[in-house]
């Protein structure tokens, strides 16, 4: 994994390697170099399988982290390529021509996180949500509880316990 990182570093301005396991590492890549890095990894380094593409919302830092997880089956290694995007007006280049399956991931990311991927096929078609007009629901600032309280009514007779208090009471009543 380190060898690969050194090689990548000599070619692209990639960040430090986070070695999670001997067979799994993560590197951060500047947004504009992502495509070149992915194509290099796919064509030269054997990372031919796009395992997943997803986003992490770092609300406090005002950033989205996109993770492109690639796998090299013959070497048994996985590399997560991270890209940090500004949260406001997040836009990223599409990689649907590198891996056709990326189009689905990008469609989902646009719907769930509001990240735009110009040029990605059927990007604006609804994927999971129908007639959604709130902020993208997987963003951290979307409050699920508030949404549920506003849109759904309480089922009568339902009791909700505070987990900490409930467990404490349950353990204490057992004679401790």
């Amino acid at each position: 994994m380190r060898e690969l990182h050194t090689k990548l570093k000599s070619l692209f301005p990639v960040g430090d390697l986070t070695e999670q396991r001997s067979d799994l590492g993560f590197v951060t890549v500047p947004q504009e170099h992502l495509r070149a890095v992915l194509v290099h990894l796919r064509d030269r380094e054997g990372f031919t399988h796009l395992v997943l593409l997803t986003a992490v919302d770092w609300l406090e830092a005002g950033q989205f982290q996109l993770t492109y997880l690639l796998s090299n089956r013959s070497a048994g290694k996985d590399l997560g390529v991270r890209v940090m995007l500004a949260r406001d007006g997040a836009t990223m280049q599409s990689i649907h021509d590198v891996w056709p399956t990326a189009a689905t991931y990008q469609r989902e990311l646009r719907e769930m996180f509001g990240i735009d991927f110009p040029g990605s096929p059927r990007l604006h078609e609804e994927f999971i949500l129908e007639g959604w007009n709130d902020i993208p629901p997987y963003r951290r600032d979307f409050d699920t509880l508030k949404y549920a309280q506003e849109n759904y009514s309480e089922r009568p007779g339902r009791v909700t316990h505070d987990p900490a208090a409930h467990m404490k009471q349950k353990l204490n009543s057992g004679g401790n």
Partner: protein
């Protein structure tokens, strides 16, 4: 890449040209085309998803997969729950084979929290996963036969699956959602007499499979309608993220159990089942033979597993469990392909992000939409089932 191998590229000569934006120029009002919805109420045994078909005569011109009928927002729910509160949620993501969610989630939490599950727990985890795989395949075989009108196969395989559910019940206390593989280990050891009853179940499954082979795989109708239909070009395997039996039927030996052995798979002796025709028949046959491999693996696990030792590692107080910042990806080979959990933690008591990588995400969306073109309407259900898709893992 030979992505556009000549006999896979759809022949669109008799269909409308593409518009500048790449979409098909279809005028429904012309009366030449018809929109047909396959689903969303269980089109085959795939679960609630639907394929919006545009047909010309009885030939499919375009197919679009629509999901969202089962969306419960699991990934978002988990961001608002403590690590242990997520544990009973994850199994709900996949009904017929829930254990992979439990395993992948537990292993991801353990890795980021620096916990090592005891060896005995690892053996029991592998046992559960193989039992789940047998169940999932049994359900598939019934569904695949049912899509072609062979209803009786489904009754037989459901019977065999039910026997395995009995074993699940005595081991975990539950039939469908087991909630057995916890972060830290497993909830319990094997009950007394479990091995003997399991052996009886395995024999029954083997005998059912023999019948299934005779009645389904030697059936003229089944052969005629599946051999050569629904071909997946092996060159597409990487570009379309195809894993599991769909890839193995194309001759690509993709099996996480062999490629990156997890749990105790490196101590077990088994061969990856391969096919080479890559059609519906081969995929069904690969899965049938895979059940036999799993039956053998269950026997091996029961013979080799340690019977004493701890079942749970020491886990911090789950009400105050904080996991340092980090990210990881854990994968396993489920009956449909690579199943994985990408977990990101931020040092708090809640996950920052959980992303579930279900094999159906690629199989039922981009791959199915590509394969469905030029197919006869009557083969659509059979093709969908042959990709072995479970929609909850697409929409999570």
């Amino acid at each position: 890449m030979t992505q556009n191998a000549p006999f896979f590229t759809p022949d669109r000569s008799q269909y409308p040209a593409k518009k500048a934006d790449g979409t098909l120029d279809i005028d429904i009002a012309s009366g030449k085309y018809l929109k047909l919805w396959q689903g969303p109420n269980h089109p085959g045994i795939t679960g609630n998803m639907s394929v919006e078909l545009t047909v010309c005569g009885d030939e499919v011109v375009e197919g679009k997969t629509h999901v969202g009928y089962l969306h419960r927002g699991f990934e978002k729910l988990m961001e608002r729950r403590t690590f242990i509160q997520c544990f009973p949620i994850v199994c709900r993501i996949c009904v017929p084979e829930p254990d992979f969610n439990e395993y992948c989630y537990a292993a991801a939490v353990e890795e980021l929290a620096g916990i090592k599950s005891p060896e005995r727990a690892d053996w029991i985890r592998a046992l559960i996963l193989e039992m789940g795989r047998i169940n999932s395949y049994m359900m598939y075989l019934g569904g695949q036969a049912g899509a072609l009108g062979l209803g009786v196969i489904g009754q037989w395989t459901t019977y065999a699956r039910d026997l395995m559910l009995d074993r699940f019940e005595e081991l975990t206390g539950a039939r469908i959602y087991h909630m057995f593989i916890m972060p830290g280990g497993v909830r319990d050891g094997l009950p007394e007499g479990f091995d003997k009853r399991m052996e009886e179940t395995l024999r029954e499954i083997e005998s059912t499979l023999k019948d299934v082979y005779d009645v389904m795989f030697c059936n003229a109708v089944f052969k005629k309608r599946t051999v050569g239909v629904g071909y997946i070009d092996p060159a597409l395997v990487d570009s379309y993220g195809i894993t599991g039996p769909n890839a193995r039927a194309a001759g690509v030996a993709k099996d996480v159990r062999k490629d990156q052995p997890y749990l105790i798979y490196s101590q077990l002796d088994f061969e990856t089942v391969l096919g080479h025709d890559s059609d519906i028949f081969t995929r069904a046959d690969v899965r049938r033979r895979d059940v036999l491999v799993s039956v053998d693996l269950v026997r091996q696990i029961l013979a080799k597993m340690p019977r004493t030792g701890p079942l749970m590692a020491t886990v911090p107080n789950v009400l105050h469990w904080k996991i340092p910042r980090g990210e990881t990806y854990i994968r396993g080979e489920c009956s449909r392909g690579e199943y994985g959990y990408y977990l990101v933690t931020d040092g708090s008591g809640y996950p920052r992000r959980v992303n579930v990588r279900g094999p159906s995400y690629t199989h039922a969306m981009s791959l199915l939409e590509r394969m469905i073109v030029n197919l006869n309407i009557s083969d659509v259900a059979s093709l969908m089932v042959s990709l072995h898709t479970y929609p909850p893992e697409i929409e999570r």
